[in-house]
Symmetry: C2
């Protein structure tokens, strides 16, 4: 008999990683939500996808739980057991739910995950209150955790970024497509860092901090999450313009109809040549979205967006490679990264 | 010549105490608001009464700043200089402003301090965002302060109470005046503690904690603030029914028209005898408010409310007397107490 050759571990599947982390976090998340006023708690459970209006439980899960997974993996990357990151996971999931809930009010979005948004289901006033409750619960949960003081500082910085990003998002919609007041790709990147990257980075860094990681590891995870947010947002923009609506789950060209200043649009408008000017005229007059999508591609918007997304993913990998991390967590972080931005980017 | 007899210090005037504390806190509060996104910062400044829509400064001050004063006096009660309580003062003033702002959205109140409410002036979505920004800024400010970790725990408990109180306030409006589902005076007291008392208590306790007070002092100040909140709320109810609108600044009987379950109403409905039943019928049919006010008085609602307010004020004084406090701060706390609930209660 010969000794077996050392097994090469298979790459972990992102769905398994997300499932494992959700299972680990769910009891603490449910316990926190259970401390809320019963009426507010029902709205929170609805927003999390756990129940229908009236409180009847639903079998279908809510979101994928990317942020809670990053918090758990952040703790594991620091060599701690995943449960060390659970308070961080609960806090970031509550903050994420809060921000979706209030953003839907501000943006007038009536649907979230194929169900009526909370403000549509319960009314605007109660939805404002439910968001406030989730926000307060996040801070309370983190403040009560061992090592939570540093965590609250990280979380409150991410919250400030979220507000800043949402403010710019509301203001960008009113800006013109051309001229000195137009939104430049750099401003888009800052917006994406604030709206998406800051909480992704905060999730992983918070988990690491509660897991006892040195500051350099937490900083690297925070940086990785910020780049990941930009990459994710740009990939989302590309899918919104040229993706399959059956896969993306949102109507094709919805972003164009809502006059969203997405990266491919901004990059196309920033390009020299006639396509950019024709595109601007078409967008200003709210012309045919299919024609706009073709012009964006002709002006190099798609190519520029994918190149920028690749640069951001490279920056994620560089940040992760810069610090030592426990091997299983590093592989699982990589799996979540691939899941979020696509394996073939 | 005879030696002058020792001067008995004059009781400090509440207006002077509030002015002094506002002057001490204002630079730090302005600095914090200045860190916000400019557009959000303008809404925050408007909500604080510092500017008009568009940003033009106003000379008239905003609120009296009772909560910020309690934070400063809490630090001074602990023997620390008032500036030790400034971060606490900034945090509670931001939280108070946040809660007024979001409550006006939920309650549909179009006017605040004789100006359009923020949601009327800037729109509902932006007002939601401005409230979120104030909330995040409060947590950020406190988390960054020396000793802020314990402070964040206190503040997040008060925030949870605020949400709970606002939830009950929204639900109480729909409850009947009579029968097993009616709101009882005990439920009113709990509501008043949550909506008003918790932040008043938190303000003084936070200041004390940042001023290095022992836990017993912070607890006593917290307890005093909670009773103060109930007393203040009941006095406000009594003034709303029988006060001079020129002094209270709100239209007479507005609470009755909004079907508010105020303490005098609940106490009257809880009394035995025919006046309670006639009152309930009148309120259910939204009859003449002046007649309702007379029935509330006849059923003992006014007497019961003033007696309850006196009991709450006695509880404030008992809490304050239970722990040693630096003398000037104790006298100034007493002045603020008299200012809030009336010297002759």
């Amino acid at each position: 008999m010969t000794a077996p050759s050392p097994a090469v571990p298979a790459a972990p599947a992102a769905a398994d990683v997300l499932d494992r982390c959700r299972s680990l976090v769910r009891p603490a998340l449910a316990e926190a939500v259970g401390r809320l006023h019963p009426w507010v708690g029902e709205m929170a459970s609805y927003a999390l996808g756990w129940c229908e209006v009236g409180g009847a439980p639903v079998a279908a899960p809510g979101g994928k739980g990317v942020r809670q997974a990053l918090a758990v993996l952040g703790a594991e990357a620091a060599g701690a057991p995943g449960r060390a990151g659970v308070a961080a996971a609960v806090a970031v999931e509550l903050v994420h739910t809060f921000s979706l809930l209030h953003d839907d009010i501000m943006d007038g979005d009536a649907t979230r995950r194929r169900r009526p948004a909370v403000w549509k289901a319960y009314g605007t006033g109660p939805a404002v209150l439910a968001g406030d409750a989730l926000f307060a619960l996040a801070v309370e949960t983190l403040a009560a955790a061992p090592g939570g003081a540093a965590g609250v500082r990280l979380l409150s910085a991410a919250l400030a970024d979220l507000v800043r990003g949402q403010a710019d998002d509301l203001l960008f919609a009113a800006r013109p497509y051309l001229g000195p007041d137009r939104v430049r790709p750099e401003a888009y990147r800052a917006l994406a860092v604030h709206k998406t990257g800051s909480l992704l980075g905060c999730a992983a860094a918070l988990g690491a901090v509660l897991g006892g990681a040195p500051a350099a590891t937490a900083d690297a995870l925070d940086r990785a999450g910020r780049h990941l947010g930009v990459a994710f947002q740009i990939v989302d923009d590309v899918l919104g313009l040229w993706g399959d609506p059956a896969v993306t789950g949102k109507p094709v060209h919805a972003d164009l109809r809502e006059r969203k200043k997405t990266f491919p649009v901004l990059a196309a408008l920033d390009s020299p040549g006639p396509a950019a000017r024709r595109l601007a005229a078409l967008l200003e007059s709210a012309g045919d979205p299919a024609e706009a999508a073709a012009l964006i591609e002709a002006a190099g918007g798609r190519t520029a967006a994918l190149a920028e997304a690749r640069r951001q993913v490279a920056a994620v990998r560089a940040a992760l490679a810069a610090v030592p991390m426990a091997a299983p967590a590093a592989a699982e972080l990589e799996a979540v990264l691939d899941y979020l931005v696509g394996r073939d980017l």
